[in-house]
Amino acid sequence: MQITVLVLILALLTVIGFQMGRTRAAASVGGRVVELHSVPSYHGFYVALWAGLPALFLFVLWTASEGWLIMQMVLASLPARLTSGDPQALNLLKADILNIAHGISTGRESDPDVVAAAQHYGTLRDIGDWSLLAVGSCLAVVGLAYGHRRIGPDLRARNRVERVVSVALIVCSLVAILTTVGIVLSLLFEALRFFAVVSPLEFLFGTHWSPQMAMRADQVGSSGSFGAIPLFAGTLLITVIAMVVAVPIGLMSAIYMSEYANPAVRTWLKPILEILAGIPTVVYGFFAALTMAPFVRVIGQDLGLDVSSESALSAGIVMGVMIIPFVSSLSDDVINAVPQSLRDGSYGLGATKSETIRQVVVPAALPGIVAAIMLAVSRAIGETMIVTMAAGLTANLTANPLEAVTTVTTQIATLLVGDQEFDSPKTLSAFGLGLVLFLVTLSLNMVALRVVQKYREKYD
């Protein structure tokens, strides 16, 4: 309640601050706005920032620390017999107090001291909320007054406001860096523990993947080898099949849509193809396992081939289908970006449409197309659900698309939700694989960027 009120008050004061700042700025030069350093609305923003920001910081600080602070105060007031336990007991005590304070019945008679503490907690929280309301509003008013007082013809309000805004913008773009750092750290930490048990060389160059560790100390008969080459090979095989499906179909669709189809057809076709990209991968997984795999198997048997029921081929084909719109959409964009003048130039020399496309348009769009394919490749490498469902888990070092293979992502998903002991290298290897996966997609993307930068033709 108090928090809602505070938010409302802050919003109101910000708006008022804006108006006051604007008015005062205009008034300070007697309405001759040109004499101001910045236009009046910047003065308004300046005051509004002073009114809103400090109070907002207080608000964030308080909401983040409130629970902890009050809990410390409540615990301090409790008799030692309750609080002297180990940290675990203390955790339970806190939970108990919170539950009672929130009116959650635990179905049990609680210690009267705990009940009293819970009431105490409730009271303190109320006090806290009210004082937050009071302090927050005061801070906003003080800020408003301060900002308001500083307004004058010489105040560089625009520069101040723009600096605040640009700091905010910079912070936003740093989120990307933080995310990358977070990913690397969260993978690296666990991966290092894995590499402490299994040597990175064995992991990267070993050709036998059988992540079995003993379930019991006295159990033997589980090999436990962590050579990830079969996984990389499996991933590569499926990715290649997917690309063999997706690149020609996607590229030709893009070409047809942007060069041949009339606009009405194109308006319909493009979104229809994009639906393929929007279908959740779980759905593709089922399609691959239940429709495509038996189909491929039957066809294979008719041809006298020995097809595994979880062939890399079926997973790859379905993944390719998923990636078609990815290739076609991106290629379509780059093909459209090729200027009409190039096509005209080619037609003007008497080239047919397909000659123009093959010899002028596609080469001109090639860097973009290559980048699109690279992105599609990293998408295929990182795809999880389809391969988990359709490609099986047999770590098979083979180039035969009719056999079952497994991929890096499949192993990550199954290793992490497995029934293993959680500190075993088997579980940790998932992070090792994750790290490799991250690095591979990273370098692929780097290459794609380089390609684009190096070969991009400048058309204006």
Partner: protein, 347 residues
């Protein structure tokens, strides 16, 4: 300007760090949380739903994380940010109990809720097959003794092992090494089958080495690690009548019209046969409860009472409908008493 910027940065940093500690500490929870094995998941969820329908407590949240992942979360500590219940398709290990204790989770109640039979199933379209664990071992082992030597498994077709068996390629879709089902399968089918194959003893004298030979599964395509989505395996078996699938009893129960399960050493996979121990490919299922949470998280005792009640795990209970094979009556009664009293687990 610069000093003010520093003040802001410092304030933001303080806010962030306080948010971390505060967020971790100040939590309350009015809902039971369970984590763990995907095999036990259907049973725990059924109990949770019945418990929630009772109306006194919120429906517990049950997460399928795998036994190991579940026990990891379960053992991470005491307090509302840690789960109250862990489902396991195997017994908790000593090392895990110790890990638990190190994190303050000292009192754990163990509920043995029943059994899961492991079926070797195949499509209804195929003729009936009777297997033995010995045949199974020969079909699936990586190396088998032939003429007094250990060689890479030469059997491509079932009829290579025994002419009476169908003349079809050996293809068994089974759980991956990450799965608890696989471990059970290794131990109950492979090891037993191996023991029943006297030639092995003659070839490999050392017991440890022999056990290793016994439990290593072939990787040349005869055994396909097929993931943990059992519905998919059901459909794959239907599409490929020559293949066998290894999975839980409940799936056989639900797909009797599509699948049949092979007789193992002459015994049919039925609930009575499993409960009496005649059908050997079965494993007990467990639920572990954190005693310290009873009384803090609402409804834990009541949930245990529901879980061990006759209407849940009894012979006619609703878990039997879901495919659980109940324990014999006297074992259930004993388990109920110890569970309701939260008798801590002693290993």
């Amino acid at each position: 300007m610069i000093s003010r910027k520093h003040v802001f940065t410092a304030a933001a940093a303080v806010a962030l760090s306080v948010a971390v500690t505060g967020g971790a500490n100040a939590q309350s929870r009015d809902q039971i949380r369970a984590v763990g094995s995907s095999t036990v998941f259907p049973f725990t969820t059924a109990v949770a739903e019945a418990f929630g329908k009772g109306g006194k407590f919120k429906t517990p949240v049950v997460e399928s994380t795998g036994t190991g992942g579940g026990l990891k979360l379960f053992c991470a500590g005491v307090g509302p940010s840690h789960p109250d219940i862990a489902n396991a398709s195997r017994r908790i290990k000593k090392s895990e109990v110790e890990q638990c204790a190190a994190n303050g989770v000292t009192q754990i109640t163990e509920l043995k809720i029943g059994f899961d039979g492991i079926a070797l199933a195949y499509s209804k379209k195929a003729p009936e097959v009777a297997l033995t664990t010995a045949i199974l071992w020969k079909a699936l082992a990586k190396e088998v003794p032939v003429d007094g030597k250990l060689v890479a498994n030469p059997y491509k077709k079932w009829s290579d092992i025994d002419p009476k068996l169908p003349n079809a390629e050996i293809e068994v879709l089974g759980p991956p090494p990450t799965s608890g089902t696989r471990d059970t399968f290794n131990e109950l089918a492979m090891l037993e089958g191996c023991k029943k194959t006297p030639e092995v003893k003659a070839v490999v004298a050392d017991e440890k080495a022999r056990e290793k030979v016994c439990m290593t599964i072939r990787e040349d395509g005869g055994y396909v690690e097929a993931g943990e989505n059992d519905n998919l395996i059901v459909q794959k078996l239907n599409a490929n009548p020559a293949a066998f699938g290894v999975f839980g009893y409940s799936y056989i129960e639900q797909n009797r019209d599509k699948l049949q399960s092979a007789k193992m050493d002459g015994v049919d996979l039925t609930a009575p046969n499993v409960a009496s121990g005649k059908y050997e490919l079965s494993r007990p299922l467990y639920v572990y409860v954190k005693n310290a949470h009873a009384g803090v998280i609402p409804g834990i005792r009541e949930f245990i009472a529901e879980f061990t009640s006759e209407r849940a795990v009894g012979d006619e209970g609703y878990l039997a409908d879901k495919g659980l094979i109940p324990e014999p009556k006297d074992a259930r009664d004993a388990a109920r008493t110890s569970a309701v009293n939260l008798t801590p687990l002693q290993l």
